[in-house]
């Protein structure tokens, strides 16, 4: 690679010529402040925080977009630069809703951190604030534009990564505000509610719709039997909220923490994932045997389902009719488990802790109930669960771990890897291959479906059949697969789609990493590795071998795809129409 010599604040270094000044500075541990920059996603030079002086250049230079060149001499810390940055930051703060004490992002806010870092001691230029609005109409995402600094990271993620483009800047100048077409709520536009915008937001302008109060109330209600279930990806990230390193697997600590909150039972959604494999796998086998609609596509990711309903209403028969794991599990808890434990399902309150904000919307779907009993009553994000623990004085970094409750607690390794891209596919293949061939797998790991590539393809030999599969994560990649299907060019039998890039470990409900961490640490990989490690360590690694699942079918559901299974565990989809009556 071609290298160039540059000097930053007196530090001489050699860097690839493809670097920006910011890249080089980070390598030299020179900390240039940024706000709008999100590596490879939002490189628009808008916030003016990363300005530097370059010898010979006219005016300040925007370091996040300026490529290095040979002999370049950069100064990041001159009085003029400090003064300019501070003035710009003060201007931002003068137009910001500074209710930091009560803000959900307090302590994890890039704007707040920068104000401290730049030693802002007062705001010299106070004045009128932009009149902004709050959108809290969706079940998943709240946007409070009074805290928005117009960095447009959310816009870029929505447009360039997810390729949904549900939001953009509205109005101009001081009146600018981020919003959707015709000032509609996110609820009423083709937003997938994936929540990647929340992950990208440096401030408290975007957050999940709060469910903590609802859950506290349930916990405080002596009439209710309150059960919590936790998704696979939550345990791989919740530790970050308590200062543990990224990639820490905090399963037992999480369970112990939830017990301290007062839940009657703490169960594992991974068991629901095993159940999903049974149902979805059976559906796939049926389609293979009966020449059904191909490819069959997974339906565990509610952001993906909503996206499909909005954008590919003509292809909904490709989606598996299986409910997502936590919905299935909720339905089983309120039927099988309730009967078994003799609890009135109407007095049972099921809380799902999810790495996801779309799950909030999913749990409120009309279809997600059986005989008038809702599958799931409240969905907390990983962040909300951590918030409740902190409120209750629970510190996961200093807690003694505890196991999931039985009898619904034990899950297979296949269930664990549901939380990462390729995991659902791998779990399904472990089961489908064994059932179709009738022989035990010679190799449990399907390495070919793992990894960060946007679209992964593989051909799996099952008996004499070549089963072609594809895995897409991030809705931009989903779009490419769906367009292939629409054009009749998709050769696949089975496709896994997760709305979030990287899968649930990087879901919109997960702990938020700042831009610098995102640029320098492979968060997806570390969190996914935690789940693969868990899979490896478990004695049972195939869903159909999970004794809880076996027993469930024996005692209650009869067999996968049975009438009862359909009633409890399957759902339907409907096209979403927007802007129709306008």
């Amino acid at each position: 690679m071609d290298k160039v010599k540059i000097t930053i604040d007196g530090i001489e270094m050699e860097v690839p010529k493809t670097y920006t000044i910011l890249d080089a500075a980070r390598e030299a541990n020179v900390d240039i402040p940024t706000l709008c920059h999100l590596k490879d996603i939002n490189e628009i030079g808008a916030c003016r925080m990363c300005i530097v002086e370059v010898e010979g250049a006219r005016g300040f230079v925007t370091s996040c977009v300026m490529p290095v060149s040979d002999g370049m001499v950069v100064r990041t810390n001159t009085p003029a630069i400090r003064d300019a940055r501070k003035t710009t930051l003060e201007l931002l703060l003068s137009n910001h809703n500074r209710s930091c004490l009560t803000c959900v992002r307090s302590g994890n806010c890039e704007l707040q951190a920068l104000a401290r870092k730049l030693n802002v001691e007062g705001i010299e230029f106070e004045g009128e604030k932009t009149k902004t609005s709050i959108d809290d109409l969706s079940p998943s995402i709240v946007r409070d534009n009074s805290k928005c600094i117009l960095c447009k990271r959310c816009v870029a993620v929505c447009k360039k990564v997810q390729e949904v483009s549900a939001i953009n800047t509205m109005n101009r100048g001081f009146k600018s505000e981020i919003g959707s077409a015709c000032n509609k709520s996110l609820n009423d536009v083709p937003c997938s509610l994936c929540g990647q915008c929340i992950e990208a937001c440096p401030t408290g302008a975007l957050r999940e719709k709060d469910a903590t109060q609802k859950v506290w109330e349930a916990l405080n209600n002596p009439e209710l039997y309150v059960i919590v279930q936790t998704a696979p990806a939550v345990r791989a990230a919740i530790g970050e909220e308590f200062g543990m390193p990224i990639g820490t697997l905090a399963t037992n600590e999480m369970v112990a923490g939830l017990k301290r909150l007062g839940f009657n039972k703490v169960f594992d959604t991974n068991t629901g994932a095993d159940l999903t494999i049974m149902e979805e796998g059976t559906e796939l086998i049926e389609r293979i045997n009966n020449n059904g609609v191909f490819p069959m596509i997974t339906s565990c990711s509610p952001g993906w389902v909503r996206y499909a309903e909005s954008n590919y209403p003509d292809l909904l028969d490709h989606l598996s009719s299986a409910k997502s794991p936590h919905q299935m599990f909720g339905a089983i808890l309120k039927s099988y488990y309730a009967e078994k434990e003799n609890i009135d399902p109407k007095k049972m309150f099921v809380v799902s802790v999810m790495p996801c904000v779309a799950k909030k919307s999913e749990s409120e779907r009309e279809e997600m109930e059986v005989d008038g009993v809702r599958d799931v009553d409240a969905v907390l994000t990983t962040r909300e669960a951590a918030r409740m623990m902190k409120e209750a004085g629970v510190d996961l970094s200093k807690i003694e771990g505890a196991p999931f409750d039985n009898p619904m607690g034990d899950a297979s390794g296949a269930g664990a890897i549901f939380g990462t891209t390729g995991g659902v596919m791998e779990a399904a293949l472990r089961t489908v291959k064994e059932i179709l061939t009738g022989e035990p797998l010679d190799k449990i790991d399907f390495e070919e479906v793992r990894g960060e590539k946007g679209i992964k393809e593989a051909t799996i030999k099952i008996g004499d059949k070549d089963i072609k599969v594809a895995i897409a994560h991030g809705l931009g990649n989903a779009k490419r697969i769906m367009d292939m299907i629409r054009d009749g060019n998709a050769p696949y039998h089975f496709v896994e789609i997760m709305a979030c890039p990287g899968g649930c470990v990087m879901g919109g409900g997960q702990p938020i990493c700042d831009a610098k961490t995102r640029a320098t640490v492979d968060v997806r990989k570390l969190r996914a590795e935690a789940l693969y490690k868990l899979d490896k360590e478990l004695p049972i690694r195939k869903s159909h071998e999970n004794p809880v699942i076996k027993k469930l079918y024996e005692e209650y559901l009869e067999k996968p795809g049975s009438h009862k299974a359909h009633k409890l565990l399957h759902t339907s989809y409907h096209p979403r129409h927007y802007f129709e009556n306008e």
Partner: protein, 620 residues
């Protein structure tokens, strides 16, 4: 497709028909009645005048007279303008009702209608356009065809050497030679910044790509500026031809003209020009049979000021929200649709054909050492001859204001001139003799700008002027970067406080601090120049700021909030007329005793001043 021979034939034939418009010694019987069809004259009914002229000529069965709708003559203040050629009779402020008299007396009777002749500032009627002081110091290069040809007729453009420059380039010049000619001419960007045009072309040529574009910035946005509009309305083919030449020089095959939709006449005429050029094979494949391919498309802008900034313009052409992109990459490397793009302003292009035809040294002989050629200004504000002027670089502001512009109306005094619009600065009286060129204007804290030239008399408050321009920038900021989005708003708030009489000591320093940081921190030219009107008014009129802040007084009397309406007790006869008219019952008194105004109630509307029969009430 027309061959070079066919074009030449069209040129000869049409020139025979229309040369009388230029030829003062023409002795034939033909007459052409030229009526201005620019936006200004159109809005004062010049189209109805044309219609009536044609009806009347038909009715009278007059032969040998042709009515021609032309582009702008420049003297917009006296529109609608009618010029009869070859005798060059200049009728000003004509009405539809005047048409019959012109036809009967002048076109039939051969007698000039004296009462309709244009009058110079001193009141003397001028027979010929050339006799007007307004035109005497002008030098028309860019505007040479404006007011002379029918802009919707390609043949008339061809007649006056139209498409001859393109022919010359395609038949006898290499792209390098074209660029050298442009470089040698010394032409600099007329959009305002003054970057050497030849260098820009060279950068675009040196970029290697499978596709390149040329683009024309016709998003004229300065308040009061209408130079580019007039060129497009009066001589659209000059832009089409120049862009084809530029495309040849840099190796582009496709061009875009970005025009604001608020310019309907310009858009219509440019589209007609493009259609005609395509029909003649002057756009398209194998132009003039020389194997050169180039085509042109119009893209309409919605009128956002920021879209005049080159990268925001490109975003807008691509169909996106008009916001500037960071540079680098520069447009010459990565412009429209990610391809190398050459972007020039309308007026810059309008010089190109003349440079090619007359040579770089001819062009370089006009103007000053570093600023060559001419500059078009839209002259407005407190000036007698409001209109469009084209002057050689190096002329002084004094010559423009007094010789061309005819001075300040209503016996007022010149106070300052604003060049560069909201990005520029004001020039006070002490700098009236500054030569108009890029460097001199920068040196006195202003800038060339795109050509808006607003003259202000002594009734103008400079603090309020700064507030006006900031109000404009705040409204037009795209909002992408905080210094511009919030900083200009904060500056505006301080200025609003000042003009409301609520300024505080230290506010000027606050303005200066904000201005400095907005200038150096903003992403694009809009923000980087937005504080200029404030800085230059502080520089030259600091005492006015101080008067507003310390004395709560507006020296020019423009800021109403700071004036007091007072009754002169000596003059007041106590008639109560004012008291009865006051809309807020602020005036009390006993009959036949001096009345008094309650300053807390007074809204300074001035009704009492107009009412008082003894002139006892005035603003102080």
């Amino acid at each position: 497709m027309k061959s070079i021979e066919e074009l030449s034939e069209i040129r000869q034939r049409t020139l025979e028909e229309i040369k009388l418009r230029k030829d003062r010694n023409y002795t034939g019987k033909e007459k052409h009645v030229l009526v201005c069809g620019g936006t200004g004259c159109t809005s004062s009914h010049s189209m109805e005048i044309i219609k009536r002229l044609e009806e009347k000529i038909k009715e009278k069965n007059i032969q040998n007279v042709r009515v021609v709708r032309t582009g702008c003559f420049g003297l917009c203040a006296r529109g609608p303008i009618i010029v009869v050629r070859p005798e060059d009779t200049f009728y000003a402020m004509a009405k539809v009702e005047d048409v019959d008299e012109i036809v009967e007396k002048h076109l039939v009777g051969g007698e000039i209608v004296e009462r309709l002749l244009c009058k110079d500032i001193d009141g003397t009627a001028v027979k010929s356009l050339d006799d007007l002081n307004f035109y005497k110091k002008q030098h028309r290069v860019v505007l040479k065809n404006c007011g002379l040809i029918d802009p919707e007729n390609i043949d008339e453009y061809i007649a006056f050497d139209g498409y001859k420059a393109l022919e010359k380039v395609l038949t006898s010049m290499t792209p390098e030679e074209v660029i050298k000619e442009v470089s040698d001419s010394g032409l600099r960007g007329r959009g305002g910044a003054g970057f050497p045009t030849g260098r820009k072309w060279e950068f675009a040529k040196n970029s290697v790509a499978d596709q390149k574009y040329v683009a024309c910035n016709a998003d004229e946005g300065d308040p009061g500026a209408f130079m580019d509009r007039s060129v497009l309305e009066g001589d659209p083919h000059s832009i089409v031809e120049a862009m084809a030449i530029a495309a040849y020089a840099i190796g582009a095959t496709k061009g875009y003209v970005y025009v604001r939709a608020e310019y309907p006449i310009a858009v219509k005429r440019l589209q007609i020009a493009i259609d005609q050029a395509q029909e003649y094979g002057l756009l398209g494949k194998n132009i003039m049979g020389k194997g050169f391919e180039f085509d042109l498309e119009i893209r309409l802008g919605a009128g956002a000021f920021v879209c005049g900034e080159e990268t925001a313009l490109m975003e807008s052409v691509e169909g996106k929200r008009g916001e500037p992109r960071p540079r680098p990459p520069f447009p010459a490397v990565k412009g429209l649709f990610g391809k190398p793009t050459l972007l020039n302003n309308v007026e810059t292009y309008a010089n190109i054909t003349q440079i090619i035809l007359n040579g770089a040294s001819w062009f370089a002989s006009i103007g000053t050492e570093k600023s060559k050629g001419t500059k078009v200004f839209a002259l407005g504000g407190n000036i007698n001859n409001v209109g469009l002027v084209e002057v050689p670089m190096g002329i002084t502001l004094r010559e423009i204001v007094y010789d061309i512009g005819g001075g300040i109306p209503n016996g007022r005094k010149f106070k300052a001139a604003q060049t560069g619009g909201p990005s520029g600065g004001c020039i006070p009286e002490e700098h009236l003799d500054t030569p108009i060129d890029y460097e001199s204007l920068i040196a006195i804290g202003s800038m060339m700008g795109s050509g808006g030239l607003i003259i202000m008399d002594d009734s103008t408050c400079m603090v309020n002027l700064a507030r006006f321009f900031l109000d404009f920038t705040v409204d037009e900021s795209c909002g992408k970067c905080p210094p511009c989005r919030i900083g200009t708003k904060r500056m505006l708030e301080i200025l609003e406080k000042m003009v409301a009489g609520k300024g505080q000591v230290g506010d000027v320093e606050k303005l200066e601090k904000l201005a400095l940081n907005i200038k150096r921190s903003s992403l694009c030219g809009l923000g980087q120049t937005a504080p200029n009107p404030v800085l230059s008014t502080i520089r030259y009129f600091r005492e006015e700021y101080d008067a507003h802040i310390k004395e709560k007084r507006c020296p020019s009397g423009e800021c109403k909030a700071m004036t007091k309406v007072m009754i002169d007790k000596e003059k007041c006869k106590g008639c109560s007329a004012c008291s009865r008219k006051c809309p807020v019952n602020a005036i009390q008194g006993e009959l036949k005793q001096p009345f008094e105004i309650d300053q807390d109630k007074c809204i300074k509307c001035g009704v009492c001043i107009a009412t008082c029969p003894f002139k006892a009430i005035s603003r102080v």
